[in-house]
Symmetry: C2
Subunit: 697 residues, 2 copies
Amino acid sequence: MRRCCTFCFLVTVATMTLVIPAVDAPADEGMWLFNNPPERLLKDKYQFEATGEWMEHLQRSSVRFNSGGSGSFVSSEGLVLTNHHVGADALQKLSTAEHDYLKQGFFARTREQEVKCVDLELNVLISIEDVTQRVSAAVKAEMSPAEAHQARQAVMAAIEQESLDKTGLRSDVVTLYQGGLYHLYRFHKHTDVRLVFAPEQDIAFFGGDPDNFEYPRFDLDVCLFRVYENDRPVRPAHFLKWGSEGVSDGELVFVSGHPGRTNRQNTVAHLDFLRDRAFLFTLNVLRRREVQLATFSERSRENARRAKDELFGVANSRKARLGGLAGLQDPAVMSRKVADEMKLRDAVAADPQLRAACGNPWSDIGDTLRVWDELYVPYQLLERGLAFHSQKFEIARTLVRMVEEDTKPNAERLREYRSSNRESLLQALFSDAPIYDDLETLGLADALSLYYELVGIRGDPLLQEVLAGKSPRQRAWELVAGSQLQKVDLRKQLAEGGKAAVDASQDPMIALARRVDAAARKVRKRYEEQVEEPQRQAYARLAEARFRLLGTDTYPDATFTLRLSLGAVKGYTDELGQKIPPWTTIGGAYQRANEHDNTPPFALPTSWLDHKDRLLLDTPFNFICTNDIIGGNSGSPVVNRQGEFVGVIFDGNLPSLVWDFVFSEEQGRSVAVDARAIVEALRKVYDATSLVEELGR
Amino acid sequence: MRRCCTFCFLVTVATMTLVIPAVDAPADEGMWLFNNPPERLLKDKYQFEATGEWMEHLQRSSVRFNSGGSGSFVSSEGLVLTNHHVGADALQKLSTAEHDYLKQGFFARTREQEVKCVDLELNVLISIEDVTQRVSAAVKAEMSPAEAHQARQAVMAAIEQESLDKTGLRSDVVTLYQGGLYHLYRFHKHTDVRLVFAPEQDIAFFGGDPDNFEYPRFDLDVCLFRVYENDRPVRPAHFLKWGSEGVSDGELVFVSGHPGRTNRQNTVAHLDFLRDRAFLFTLNVLRRREVQLATFSERSRENARRAKDELFGVANSRKARLGGLAGLQDPAVMSRKVADEMKLRDAVAADPQLRAACGNPWSDIGDTLRVWDELYVPYQLLERGLAFHSQKFEIARTLVRMVEEDTKPNAERLREYRSSNRESLLQALFSDAPIYDDLETLGLADALSLYYELVGIRGDPLLQEVLAGKSPRQRAWELVAGSQLQKVDLRKQLAEGGKAAVDASQDPMIALARRVDAAARKVRKRYEEQVEEPQRQAYARLAEARFRLLGTDTYPDATFTLRLSLGAVKGYTDELGQKIPPWTTIGGAYQRANEHDNTPPFALPTSWLDHKDRLLLDTPFNFICTNDIIGGNSGSPVVNRQGEFVGVIFDGNLPSLVWDFVFSEEQGRSVAVDARAIVEALRKVYDATSLVEELGR
């Protein structure tokens, strides 16, 4: 399963040779900007022209789930289709011990039955404007990194606020090419989103962790929401028509979605850093949380329900990171990276003008990584908050910081507290999502223990103050049980009361957030000024060199903004020489369940067992294509030349996990739910004829 | 569940205040040597005299499982009773895809049906002899640590060989008080051990990981083997009579077993090292293996079967280590340790004679820890073999080293290759236990990746050679698939062929073991000479100071040798103020299963569901007592004043997990299966009347 900023792998008995072909035929590579589509590649390879109208229709039909995923409008009445695992965050927040939407699924037979989500925000991209010049002009060459960072933040905040004031649209300045370009993205924001349909998790995530990031697959990983405005279904200006025919073998298809993050333009030293430092740290944290949540879940069904969504996310990230790490440890990948970098360095060295303009960004980036290495642990613990892992702490920190930042001019605030982002911030801060003290205590105790482990009690007066003479477990219990921040009213009261109210609060979690804030801000400031800013400048020069040498017919690394990728529906030959077909069928799901005696995670839900004889078993279920995606693309619509909806992306196979660093279509594939399977299941398993009609089938 | 060298914990919602009482009333503390029992404590507190005869009977009835646990003879026909989880290693090795002894259980209704275990070795302690003087005399004051280490190894090997030659008994020189005393232990060794009875794992490990190290419990964690000699059941000189009555509240009971390892005599600096270095490293390795085995298991039932015993062991260790770490992070524990140490240091400082004799062992131990810190990772990777985690590698290394060591005089060999240990070594090396290439590859790939992660490819030519230009996964696959060491005949052939045969072998795992051996030996040598030996000398001086100041009426830290502990059957009050009763009943198991809808890990096996109405539901099932135990004590008999068998230890509760460092009986308890429940289940659930009769009931 894919998700924002994750990707994956699992060892099988077979060798996992990563086949990277010589770069002759142009590959279906690229997460292309909507204002810089791959026109030449489309024309030359597929004889297709993406007109402005075609592009705009796809853009305005595409939806971003701010919880971390993609989707699309699929009806004139505001239906939005995404993955079940993208909707999972909303499903989990709606669930109670009595009604488990995530596990049992849901179908609203009438509009009245549609359930309003707790804190979901959807964004639709309306326009893109290049603001590189204005951003760059604000940052003078003679500025120190600290000044440059401040100036850049200020101009970005100003552009966003101006745009918001002028258009009323959510306005984000997006950094592309790690600092090479700055674009202003304007979004239509939707916050009244209601749940219409979700299947049971057993069929949405059929095969579970073992089949995650694998293929063949048999998953109905879909979920339908409806967007409302003023308590009525919205009538979107654009939505995707349901494809009248399915996909065919070799057919050109497009994916329009929000890939979260790739690292393809990173220098080799930066990849080394990811492999030897960042990935290891993250994997250890993920594994420790996975073991913790799994054992918590085993204690009772209610525990399992409470932990389900997070446990899925953690296991998914663990598998993805392991796949990424395996790629970085593969000499075939790294030697290609080294060769590419050498070529670029040689070309720059051979061009005096370019050399003068670009300097040595590789060496400059290496310098920032040495600082980053030093800051890495305190940054993760204090600023990212891994030392205080709990929702109550997150709320406390947001309150403490928000009232503090509000005393400053907009231009000088921490970026997430800029005025143009306030609505989204409050949407999350005042969320009604349930908070479970047992899970909170478990997480916080382990987090405090991690803090203790990583810095040691002797040398760290802050840790000593945080623990207040208690053991991590005792202290976590005291903090969680003592805090009242589960009450949304209290949060509102503190937010309204401003700095005076927050400063005066006796809530122990607020007190903790106040106590650690200076240290957290200090490490963030060092990171921003000594790592982020110089890195951004160096990568901007690297991007400039690439533009000059290779042209601008390129795409930037993923940034969780809308991208277009192209490709073909296509099988492949695996490392054992087996031919893997381009799609599976609904009948295959029954067969696989049978092979595993219908036991979890290979158990089909009762609804599927009961309605087997109604289903056309040869209906295509999941298909694969060569489109370039990454975590965050989950829920992205797959469309054909006509711009019709033919499927929804939900995964990539194991060989695609290296796409974080390098694209290869030899075996790497995106995996989608076929539109035909969605309609077949809605009609025959769930009796959702009204929905099928609304989809125009 | 307890096991050699493990211990544990799990966060609950409640605070886990560790209550450590003021040391007024003598506690039931101590893992006492059989040649230095707690006579005074027994007399003063319990008015009991352990006669020489009483002690010898208990000693000779006790059995050590060399796979890591304890047991006892319970019939005149050689029946040995232990825990199911101690027998698990043997059960796993007997199991196939067709017959899963571990999960399904087993009962041999006739002698002919008893199944010979693959490589189980049991030891019965025959005698103890103090050889401290001879060992100490061999180590001269003027020797360098390297020479001292060599001299000590030589004299220990010589004593062992002489004893073996003279008595024919397995002879081990055991280091006590971290070097304060050396005792020669002679064992009767049994290697023809046959499986007689094992219950289903669902009742043996009822409650699974969630209930592990918890109380109340409802587990039939027992397993019965029979010892043979010359193909006939052995008639042991001593065996425990089955208790005619059960235990009563407050009754004095004894535990005779083999606690694996404690760290109670460690200096504070040494505890800091465990907390800040060793435990963290181990926990990360355990968590990574747990996630790996859990995901492997999820893929199919056969995978789950293959991984089951190891997964249990890993999760058990993880829980135990977490409990230990929580103790070390608890200021209440550490401040007591600091205070104790200060008192001892002050007493030594105040006594010029003692000061002259002991020097400053605390500082000397601190010095060794700095070296150990530096060696720690390479030692774990290369010498402990974590970089090559696989059975085939272990076999390869044993062969490579054995033929090399055999070219040296006995006194100069690595300790495990001394001639007196040869039989036991070959018993393991030529084991028929199945080896699964998929599990092997999974483990080795991850191990090579760990090696890569911890040392980095750039700076380590050995790693580069080990990987041979492949990724860890490719290389693991190549090594495992290419090696033929699953064939016992090949191992025998290589062992018989000696150094010439092993040097000439083309087996890739043998080649790998050959390649890394020099580096592994080098780090071991540094460890032995610069850490182990000076630490041993310093701890010997510390022990001497304690003997002189506190007398010799003490017990040494656990060393997986036979110990006696005393205590009372006794409930306690938990941290929420709830009264926890001294025993549970068989009926309670049904109630708990009901509360969880009889779903795993709270599912009772069919046999128990079917025979519920035959059982006396108020039969005591598990009881708790204040006896001092640790991992390795699993399977230890609990006996009453009459020396009768009344139960078998299988666990300790959460508050007992800190006993690794400090004993407290406020809430800490050992957990045992009641002898009455064993008989009740054998008779009514398993219709094992012949067994019940043999047990004399």
